[in-house]
Each structure stands twice: as C-alpha cells, then as structure tokens.
Symmetry: C2
Subunit: 351 residues, 2 copies
Amino acid sequence: MNSNYYLVIMAGGVGSRFWPVSSEELPKQFLDILGTGRTLLQLTADRFRDIVPNDNIYIVTSANYCDIVKEQLPDVPAENILAEPCRRNTAPCICYVSWKIKKRNPKANIAVVPSDHMVTDEKKFAEAIQQTLEYAAETDAIVTLGIKPTRPETGYGYIKADLSFASSRKNNMFRVDAFKEKPNRETAELYLKQSSYFWNSGIFIWNVSTIVNAFRVYQPAMSRIFEDLLPVYDTPQEQEMIDKLFPECENISVDYAIMEHAEEIFVYPASFGWSDLGTWGSLREQVQKDAYGNACIGPDIDLYETYNCIVHATGEKKVVIQGLDGYVVAEKDGTLLICKLSEEQRIKLFH
Amino acid sequence: MNSNYYLVIMAGGVGSRFWPVSSEELPKQFLDILGTGRTLLQLTADRFRDIVPNDNIYIVTSANYCDIVKEQLPDVPAENILAEPCRRNTAPCICYVSWKIKKRNPKANIAVVPSDHMVTDEKKFAEAIQQTLEYAAETDAIVTLGIKPTRPETGYGYIKADLSFASSRKNNMFRVDAFKEKPNRETAELYLKQSSYFWNSGIFIWNVSTIVNAFRVYQPAMSRIFEDLLPVYDTPQEQEMIDKLFPECENISVDYAIMEHAEEIFVYPASFGWSDLGTWGSLREQVQKDAYGNACIGPDIDLYETYNCIVHATGEKKVVIQGLDGYVVAEKDGTLLICKLSEEQRIKLFH
C-alpha cells in the first residue's frame, strides 16, 4: 500500500428518509441497512482495505457520533476521527481534514467519500480509486467520479463532461464542463441519451496541496481558520479550538465552495454499480430482489401475493405479509412503518 | 349474591386466527385483545362480579394454562381451576366440572360460558344471566342464550326458536326447535329476515342436577367416569385420576353430546352486543372505529389514507401506516403480520 494515500470518509449525515430504521441517534451510515452484517460506514472503509493504510483513514463526523465510529471502525486510530461541533455541510468538513492531513503529510493524495453510499462492483471501484489517486499524485487535478447513468434518475445531480478533452496523461479522465442540479424527468431523459452526462457521486480525489490551495483561493476566510490551527492539530487543544472556530465557517457544500469555481476539474467515468441509497425505493432497486420484485432484509420474511416491496425488519423474528404491492415495510426497535413507495417522500413528515 | 349461583368458564381454546398476537403459548382468552387493560378471560369473569361469589367461579382449561389463569384471576380459589390433561372439546369439560360442583353443592345453578367472547352491554348481559339462573333454579330446563342477529353472519351457528311456545313460567324464554350449523350467505339472509332465528352464543344455564342427569342419559359412559370420581374430588388424588381417565372421554362438543338430544331446551333471546371474536375482521367490527373504519389497538398509531383496517400493536412504541385499505396489521413480540382482511382465513397457514 502507498503510504501517501489517504481516505476521508464524511459521516456527519442525519438522514431521515430511512425512518424508522435510521434515526437522528443512529443515521443510516451506522446501520447494516443492506443486511450484510456490515454497516454502510464499515462497507465504505472496507472498499479501501487494499488501497489505504488504516492509519491514513480519517472520518469526519458529528461529535455525537464519534463513539459509534470508534466502535464500528476499531482499526482506525481514534485521533483520526474528527468531531464537528455542528453541521456546516461538506466544505468546512473537507477544509478542516485537508489542513490537518497536510500538516502530517504534505505529499498526501486523498480520496474523499460519503459514508452512506453503495457500490456493487468493488473491484471496479478499487480500480477507479487507484487510477485517480495515481493521477492526483502526478497532477494538480481535482477529480470526481462520474457514474454512467443507467436510467433517467431525477434524484441525482449530474456532471457534464467534455469528452473531446481527455486529460493529456490519462485517456479515461475528462474535463468537467458543468455541474448540473437534479433535473426534471424530461431533462434526465435527455441526459441519459447523451454520453457526456454522468451522475455526480460526491466522491473526490486530489492531492492535499491542490485542495488546500483551492480553499485558499476560493474560500480564503474558511481556509484561514483551519490554516491558523496548524500548530494545534494533534495537540490537546485541537478539539477546544475546533469547537470554538468551526461554527464560524460558512454552511456550504464543497460543490458550491470549490467545484463551481476551480479550473482543473476532471471526471473519471465509472460504472461500478453505485447508489446513494437516498430512499427506500433506491434501496429496493439496489439489493437482491425475488422474482416478484421484493427486496427483503430480515431473518425470516414470508411473502404471499406481494410484489415490488422493500421489507426491512432485522429486529423482527418473523414477518408475514400478504397482498401488498409497491410498499415499504420497515420495523426497528418498536417502531413500524408501512407506506406506499410512491409516497415515500412523506416519510420524513411521519415521525 | 346467591350462594347457589356458579360460573364455569371454559378456557381451553388454542385459537390460531389471531396470530401473531395470540399463540398456542398464550391464546386469545389470556390476552388484552381489546386494548382495555383486561384480558378476555378477566372481562368474562368481571361480567359475573355482582352475580356469582368468587368461591363459586370455576375455570376449566388446559393443564398448560393453569398458571396463567391463577395469575389473571387471583381472586378465584386455585382449587377451582381445573386442568384438562388433553383437549376433548366441551362435553367432557362440562361433565367433569358439573359432577365436581354437584359434590360440593347439589343445589348449584350454573352459567357455563366461553372465555373468549365479547359483550358490549354488560348490564343487559347481567340481566339475562340473572333471569336465566333464576329460571334454572326453578325448573329442569337447559337454557341457552340466543343473540338476535344484526347481520347475515355465516360464521356462527344458529338456534331456531319456537316463538309460539313460550315457557309457561317466563314469557321471554322459548323452546328450541333446532340447532343449525353455520349457514351459507343465502340461508343467513333468510334467517335474518325471520324473527325465530338466533345466533348460538355457546352460553348455557342450568341447575347441576339437570345437566348431570342429561349426561347420565345421553352420555352414560362419559358420565360414569366423572361420577365414579366423586370420592376423589377435592382430594390430592383428583388430578392424578383426571390425568388418567380424562383422555378416555369422547372428543365431542356439548351441542352434539347433549343439546341435540335433550327435550327441555329453551332459548333466551338476548341483545347485549355479543361477538365470539373469531377473527381479526370480527374484532374490527366490534371495537371502536375511527371515521374511516379503522380500529387501532396500541399506544401510538398514526394512519394516513388508511381505511377499514384493524391494527393491533400493543407492544410497538409507534406505528405509522400510509395507504392501506382493508388489512389487518398485527405485531407481537417480534412477529409482524400484514394481511388483507378478505384473506384472513389463511392466517392459520402462515405461521
């Protein structure tokens, strides 16, 4: 393994769309939502098993979740688990961890990934990460992984690539033309037909100097906060100072803070079977289904005349369902939800 | 209270139609299926609060359930809880307890009732029991309570009364013409139109000599078993002898064993709001429903666009249901059932 390769996992989300299985106390990244025996956070770390040494794995999360992270990733050094005192979106999170890593290893090449996504082809994923980390080591490029669309998805942002302009050093890396917000159905259909549009996976790869310089240029105030803290990183004062200064950061995503402005942005087109697992419906799409379109996660689930459902009941000893079509049935710790998948955007209003 | 009045509660059933809330370990008579804070057995005993002294209440149940009965009816003397070593339907059960009561009080007048039925008008019920017990004390009549039908129910047996032949002493007691099996829909409609048909409630009232003589005449072999045991009732040998001899009894209902043959059978027409609570659907019919036809039993159940459902989830902290019509949703101890009410006869096959 390359000792200059680093992994940053962003694990501060408090998603409410997988209620009641996920909750603010235990958001989905900390849950075995796929029924594999590993939580999404653990699966995310597992994917870098052969690429990044444990000592180079950093997790940025809410202060409330640090103990959960320690428990779920016992091989990651406790001092690599960074506690945000409040939620400020992805830019402050990345700025903080980047400056901290820069202090430790100015030659670091970093992959930044969300903690709650799903990847089905881990080999292809590892290949994409290896190639982009290599590329980041050699260049000042900001690289994002773009997923080849397989359906006119309206739930994702898109990246428009300039396919005529491949990177000079790698012919499978293309300059980014534009980042696109979540499209409507019609636009999504259009994107799907063209080969230059990719799903924005929210996965970034860069070397530490590149990202730190980008923050210096495009977010000077934010950058200064974390640059000024260089002397206190890895000292007993770090958390105290972060607790004091982090809340002063602008609440902004890295997409708006950096990507929209930076020049050297490249997309690596990938097709490793990816989902952001944003909803019960997308979970149903991703996991193994029976011949009737049902995805069941739980020890003993019997279905009769039931179609296109997702059933998540890992805590129930037995579940019997007769006569449902297109529903989510989810139970956790004494809370039960039954809801049409077509109405699942209302779940966050239900609890 | 009249010290010659006795109550026999038959509590040996192992219904499987309320699965998963009921189970063989804890059948529905031992459950707070109505969400009132009292089990069906307790509610049954409660109805006789002002009619029968606690010392005169007898429960006949399976040996497996004796401890549950003791716990649920702590005021009933433990020696009044009779343990059947095996299931032999209602005739041996009634024959046993009748001989036992006869030994203790040959002047006993007894109401025999199932443990798992529901009554909504307890005052009317008490009135019916008082009147029929009084009548039983004065005559050798076998009295059954017939419920005035309110719908063409195909799930109950019926009693055809001879309305022209009222009892000479009570003008609200009629001779039974015939017992009718569960009818089909067409026949049930016919019964409903005529005023001489009543639902067979399975509640009987008689004096102990009458029922014991009826057993002597119509079930001599069975009667002899329990008559021969007269010397051992209320001795340490009773259970041992019952365990040995009870299994020899014919497996037969009191309807077939006695009612079909006896002469002096009368029906008391009643309308105290009765249900045998045989199915989830009948439970929904009986309990309080919201404006959309939903019956909810549980601490915190929120429904959206949900109609004609019965939800029983007393162990769940919270239940949210969106978009169901005509379903039973039942959860207990880690087992969840969702099933169309129209398919509920299949529930017993599901577990």
